[in-house]
Subunit: 229 residues, 2 copies
């Protein structure tokens, strides 16, 4: 999540992209809570730039789904409800299943090794590293599988969905409870990829997504209970 830029590919480092990175992190970590207004003048002053590049940054985040634009009103941090998130996870599942199959067919040995290394890094740091960093590594590992599918459009769309879902996944992760399942899924995916076993990788991806959805649904239930109690 750290080095995400505005548009195609990577490696430009334009000012709006950098501002978008900063705002994104503030949103994902809750410094800018869901529903908060992002006023152009306030934030431009706060970040030491003028309104023009800030507007561009907000548009980038709107495209990613983290911010909602409203004509003639302040943009607000998006607050997706459970139904929207469910829909997005359903699509993400499909994208990952497709990626897994294609990766089994097309991944190079080097790419498989890279995926395994990333999975090991996640496993090693799961309990010790900063939670945000763990999530970045997790995302990098999934993205590496998708990249191994050698489908540029799939890679781009998958990244968009991961970004959109990043915050809610982050907020709903219940570390201890699901560590074994998550890490087990990862290991299973890596092994299936190494075996180029499409059925197996589908199974592990599906399991992974079911766990993610269960966490998020539990999070929404807790939130609703907290709002009522």
């Amino acid at each position: 999540m750290t080095g995400t830029t505005s548009d195609q590919e990577d490696a430009d480092r334009t000012i709006p992209a950098a501002i978008a990175d900063r705002l994104r992190r503030e949103i994902l970590t809750g410094i800018l809570p869901a529903g908060a207004q992002i006023k152009e003048r306030d934030n431009a002053d706060r970040l030491g730039i003028s309104r023009t590049p800030l507007r561009e940054a907000v548009r980038i985040l709107a495209k990613e789904g983290l911010v909602t634009l409203r004509p003639l009103r302040s943009p607000i941090v998006a607050a997706p409800d459970l139904n929207e998130v469910r829909d997005e996870i359903a699509v993400l599942r499909m994208l990952e299943l497709m990626s897994g199959e294609l990766a089994c067919q097309k991944a190079s040995d080097a790419e498989i090794t890279h995926v395994r290394d990333l999975a090991r890094q996640v496993e090693t740091d799961y309990y010790t590293a900063d939670k945000v960093d763990v999530f970045d590594m997790d995302m990098a590992m999934h993205s590496a599988i998708v990249a191994a599918s050698h489908n540029a459009a799939l890679t781009r769309t998958h990244r968009e969905y991961l970004q959109r879902l990043w915050r809610i996944r982050f907020m709903s992760a219940r570390r201890r409870d699901d560590a074994n399942r998550t890490l087990g899924d990862h290991a299973g995916m890596v092994q299936a990829l190494a075996d180029r076993d499409e059925a197996a990788i589908r199974r592990h991806i599906d399991n992974h997504m079911n766990g993610m959805l269960a966490n998020i649904e539990a999070h929404f239930r807790n939130e609703a209970k907290a709002a009522k109690g």
Copy 2:
């Protein structure tokens, strides 16, 4: 394609969205050919607005994949190569297959009727109406199936892909040759939806996409031949 706006949902009609609509049509119809520069001052003057809303419009088209942004250089009309298009069609196929299955499960009778009406309209006007309008109707019919899936994220992403592929599909459509197959696929999809037969709709969608891909590959071959000869 006519009423496509910038961001979420429909029905705002902000100036940049209207400018984006106009530029989009100019790109899709070839008034702005692939590879052409979109200079901010020239186009702002030509369209009677300032550079600011034009820039917003270009960003919208960049997000749709119709133009390519290059830092410190003029944006250019995107010119995807065959490999990129193949990747995009592969994802579109997956999105449509998912939509078809979900639509068979969740579509209301009214939605199925609506899809059938749109399919009939395409069939009626296929040879007589303006080619651009036929493509709009075709897109509306496919979008109606996706809408019947009742998955907002899927609907949004599917529309993005259709938009991105609109121009190349338009340019590579070989009317007479494929009319029967195209219209047959449509009829099959409608019937499968009415029967709520998931396997059948998958079959027809797959056939439809194969035909589309074949057309586009033939188009690229002809283009390469024309460039050489």
